[in-house]
């Protein structure tokens, strides 16, 4: 981690960049947060470890408007989002100095808590130089351990790979964390009866409090004004009374990012209610792959997205009923 700080200081010092976009330590060891660093002194607070899950590419929309270049640290999966933002003219490549940082899988404290570990004071073993086998957790009730992989975010189990899609330089090693099939969860739901599917989503979505965290964190959901805040559709937010509006919100949100979503998983990571929101996006990705050929948003900055493209012999919508 220190090498990242050193390199950032160098780049600040030689004027290559005017600021640094990274993560700073939070009040607990497991909740670092995105932050700008404008000087070498500020960089003392910089952290980068297994809990730095936040995808910083979206912050580059605002950073692109600032004077001078911004040094941004992007994990392999974040670089897809950044590419997608370039494609949509939302970020300025020239305004970014990208250090692709390695990643050994990002962690969720919720997953640790879910194992019955309470009263967490600090967590060790999440550093980039650690073995990433076991986490040691100091709690009010004594030291506990937890396997690194068990604490990992869902998205890391279906990792897209260790390669950075875009960067000016790469630092730190990455680790293979993929140990599950990307579409297994979606397939499990697809195999349900309509009643089961409905019950599943009814249960999940009824938890939604419309806090908009998913929307705010999403690098694809970057509209200046969201349709759900707009009078143009007469769909501006209302009180949370029944479940339909949540369905409408999440379906439309997923639809708006379909073909643009890189499957970064931030929506599920930030949801305070723990709704597996990535399922919506991943369902669209799976359908797009099946119907129109494999497509990974953010792999490049030029190709046409599947929803702004077509072939003459695309499947008909009736396929939905036909495949049973």
């Amino acid at each position: 981690m220190q090498e990242l700080v050193n390199r950032a200081k160098e780049l600040l010092a030689d004027g290559t960049v005017s600021r640094v976009l990274g993560w700073k330590a939070g009040d607990m060891s497991y909740n670092p947060e995105p932050a700008y660093f404008n000087s070498a002194e500020e960089l003392e607070n910089f952290v980068y470890d297994g809990f730095c899950g936040a995808n910083l590419s979206k912050y580059m929309i605002e950073a692109s408007k600032l004077e001078g270049k911004t040094l941004v640290f992007l994990k392999p999966c974040d670089t897809y989002s950044f590419n997608q933002l370039i494609k949509e003219h939302r970020v300025d490549r020239e305004k970014a100095y990208i250090i692709g940082v390695g990643c050994k899988g990002k962690l969720s404290v919720e997953n640790i808590k879910a194992q019955g570990i309470k009263g967490i004071e600090s967590i060790e073993g999440a550093g980039m130089n650690d073995g990433c086998d076991t986490l040691t957790i100091k709690t009010l009730y004594g030291d506990k351990t937890c396997s690194y992989n068990d604490a990992m975010l869902e998205r890391c189990h279906v990792c897209k790979g260790k390669e950075h899609q875009i960067s000016d330089e790469v630092m730190l090693e990455s680790r293979d964390t993929k140990d599950a099939e990307r579409f297994a969860q979606v397939e499990a739901i697809e195999a349900m009866t309509p009643e089961e599917k409905f019950a599943f989503f009814q249960k999940e979505l009824s938890k939604c409090i419309r806090c908009n965290a998913c929307r705010n964190v999403c690098p694809a959901c970057s509209c200046r004004k969201c349709v759900f805040d707009s009078t143009k559709y007469d769909t501006a937010q209302k009180a949370n009374v029944t479940s339909f509006e949540e369905k409408m919100f999440h379906i439309i949100r997923a639809f708006h990012v379909a073909g643009r979503c890189t499957d970064c998983g931030e929506c599920s990571r930030v949801c305070p209610q723990g709704i597996p929101l990535h399922l919506f996006n991943r369902k669209f990705i799976k359908d797009i792959d099946t119907f129109y050929g494999e497509f990974q948003a953010g792999e490049d900055t030029e190709s046409r997205g599947p929803l702004t493209n077509f072939t003459f012999d695309d499947v008909e919508p009736s396929i939905v009923g036909e495949r049973g």
């Binding site: 408007k65 949509e88 003219h89 939302r90 970057s222 509209c223 200046r224 004004k225 969201c226 349709v227 707009s230 143009k232 559709y233 007469d234 708006h256 990012v257 046409r304 997205g305 929803l307 702004t308 493209n309």
Partner: protein
């Protein structure tokens, strides 16, 4: 909120018989914004329009809803009426309570309820309408005619005579089309060439007409008044300016084995050829697939014998790009392949032929020099059998569901001509119905029966069995006698169904002109706009629109020309104001909309935006109203909803949805 007036039309009894119009008036009066509602016998009549006029003025209406027939019928009428009364024409909405309601529902209560819902939706929409101003676009004073048959020729001459430039694009080496293949024409038995050739010459000589033969339309962009078309002039391998049409090359060409398209493959032609003697232009083409020079590199005889030095083996396809104000489609027809009806043994016997092949056999310039003879052995036939409706009126997947319309008449013609020229030949016609609507048509058919002794048998043929002696045993039925008939014939002639020229679907797609499942182009209105395609600026001439004979084709060709002239006579056209519009404050500048725009109407500019006091330089979308056709693809592609469609805005459509689901 608008001040809305609702006008409910009885349409005589068309609406009023099924929809309780009084009830509709009563119900819509309760709707928000409605300050006036009335019903009337015929809203589209002058008196009806006067009522609208009066109400707008007296009640100060700012929007009106007419509950009547389809907007495709009278939207324009009511918009004009509103405009005369000083209202912006785009403040008019139509609730279609005839085609979508009274005509398809029987129960009055149900139909009335539905009419009220449709009216509510229109009221909800009009409450959100905004006045729109159409823009203007210039009209290019030039017409394109696709197809150089009698339909295309007639249309071109008529447009050119009105003083406008016309280009004819014909894919074969000569204009003339199917009519040039015919021997005689019904119901007067004129010689086809005698009446067609002067027309061809007239078109060729007309100073306003340019003919592109051996050419195809490659690409069409633009819209009414301003189409841009790429015409591919296929490499003819002949310099048209040098060729004198002497014909020596064709005589000397050693490759003479290619089936002649013009003679329906009944004989062969040389690789360098003009399709027929009267071809216009009288300049041959080299069929590169058949030419020895092109296949092996050796030969070159035509080049050697051509004194004009017109042969050019190096010639390449050439693209001519031209602008047009109007396009007339006159692509014509072909006969279906009859080998899918092998019970008639077409591909098993040379003496089973189609009627178009018989035309060539009967023609003095045809493969038998006009002598009626069997193609198998050259013998003169004694018994001829004609079979009607081969592939017409079929609901199987092999044939056509429609009546080809011309077969009854040409078969009567053939029968008559044969009996006249060869009284020793017996002619039998197996028919299902004889259909002869048309001036002097039934008389013509009756002459065949009464004066020429043609034997008409009501019933179909089930099988044609080639016999060891070379004759054909025709197994048919006489439904009047209720007997199966076995008839020995020397020749059998099949009245094969006609179908639109294969190319027409490609052309329709380029023109975005509507086409039906049979590949006939769709007219804008079956009765009232029969020569106009629903696509503005595209007109229909001849069989591409539906089966028709020569007199009808020529009449329709003239009608299409008049419609095209009417368009070309205007200097400017009003453009549809229902175009897309981007809200700069909301636009992300992401280019998603531009990616789906079929017209390239969306561009991006980087400009300073004042977003509620925040001044920022942003990349924002901008719509070119002259190019935008108002499809709305961009509006759905836009995730933020910054792109909206005027006249069909998100809020308007949602208001309609809400009104219907209420």
């Amino acid at each position: 909120m608008q001040r809305v007036g609702v006008f409910v039309c009885h349409c005589g009894s068309n609406i009023a018989a099924t929809v309780d119009v009084k009830k509709v008036v009563e119900m819509v009066s309760l709707e928000p914004g409605v300050v006036h509602a009335e019903d009337y016998q015929y809203m589209c009549s002058e008196a009806g329009q006067a009522r609208i006029d009066a109400a707008i003025k007296e009640k100060g209406l700012t929007g009106i809803v007419v509950c009547s027939c389809s907007p495709r019928m009278h939207e324009a009428t009511f918009r004009k009426a509103a405009e005369r009364a000083g209202l912006n024409p785009y403040m008019v909405e139509i609730a279609n309570i005839r085609e979508h309601c009274s005509w398809i529902h029987k129960d009055m209560e149900e139909a009335t309820k539905k009419a009220v819902v449709l009216a509510r939706a229109a009221i909800a929409k009009v409450n959100l309408n905004a006045p729109l101003q159409p823009g203007e676009s210039l009209v290019t004073k030039r017409a394109l005619v696709i197809g150089g048959g009698i339909a295309g020729i007639q249309t071109a001459i008529d447009i050119a005579d009105a003083g406008y430039e016309v280009d004819i694009v014909e894919k074969t080496p000569s204009i003339g089309g199917r009519m040039s293949q015919l021997d005689k024409t019904f119901p007067t038995l004129d010689c086809s060439a005698c009446i067609l050739t002067p027309k061809m010459v007239e078109a060729a000589a007309h100073e306003k007409i340019t003919i592109y033969t051996y050419s195809e339309v490659d690409k069409v962009t633009g819209f009414v008044g301003d189409f841009t078309v790429d015409i591919r002039k296929k490499a003819r391998s002949i310099d048209m300016n040098k060729c004198t049409g002497c014909g020596v090359c064709q005589e000397k060409c050693p490759s003479k084995k290619t089936p002649s398209e013009f003679n329906r493959g009944l004989n062969t032609r040389s690789a360098i050829y003009t399709p027929f003697a009267q071809a216009i232009p009288n300049v041959p083409v080299i069929d590169r697939d058949a030419c020895i020079k092109f296949k092996t590199g050796k030969c070159g005889i035509c080049e050697k014998v051509c004194q004009a030095g017109a042969i050019d083996y190096e010639q390449k396809d050439e693209i001519v790009t031209q602008k047009y104000g109007a396009i007339v489609v006159a692509t014509g027809f072909d006969v279906i392949k009859v080998d899918q009806y092998e019970e008639y043994a077409y591909s098993q016997s040379k003496d089973v032929i189609t009627s178009l092949e018989l035309e060539r056999i009967m023609n003095a310039a045809g493969p038998t020099k006009g002598h009626l003879e069997r193609l198998s052995d050259g013998k003169h036939p004694k018994e001829m059998v004609f079979i009607q409706c081969v592939g017409s009126r079929c609901s199987d997947d092999k044939g056509k569901s429609y009546c080809s319309k011309i077969c009854c008449m040409y078969t009567a013609k053939h029968a008559m001509l044969i009996r006249d020229k060869y009284p020793d030949v017996n002619v039998t016609v197996f028919y299902i119905d004889v259909r002869t609507p048309g001036k002097n048509f039934d008389e013509f058919y009756r002459r065949a029966v009464e004066d020429y002794g043609v034997n008409y048998i009501k019933g179909q043929v089930g099988k044609v069995a080639p016999q060891p002696d070379g004759s054909l045993l025709v197994q048919g039925v006489d439904l009047i006698d209720n007997k199966q008939i076995l008839k020995k014939a020397d020749m059998v002639v099949l009245a094969a169904a006609i179908e639109p020229e294969k190319d027409v679907r490609r052309i329709a797609t380029m023109l975005t002109a509507s086409i039906d499942t049979n590949n006939f182009l769709t007219e804008s209105h079956a009765k009232l706009r029969p020569v106009e395609s629903p696509t503005a600026g595209v007109f229909l001439s001849g069989v591409c629109q539906g089966p028709k004979d020569i007199p009808e084709t020529v009449a329709q060709a003239g009608a299409a020309a008049v419609k095209a002239i009417g368009l070309l006579a205007k200097d400017k056209l009003l453009t549809n104001p229902c175009t897309a519009k981007a809200d700069e404050l909301m636009c992300n500048g992401c280019s998603t909309c531009a990616n789906v725009c079929p017209y390239g109407a969306i561009t991006y500019e980087t400009k300073e935006i004042n977003d509620h006091g925040i001044r920022e330089t942003r990349r924002v979308a901008s719509v070119n109203n002259a190019l935008c056709q108002g499809c709305g693809a961009c509006t759905v592609a836009c995730p933020s909803g910054a792109m909206d469609l005027q006249g069909f805005s998100n809020r308007q459509i949602l208001a309609e949805v809400d009104a219907i689901c209420r």
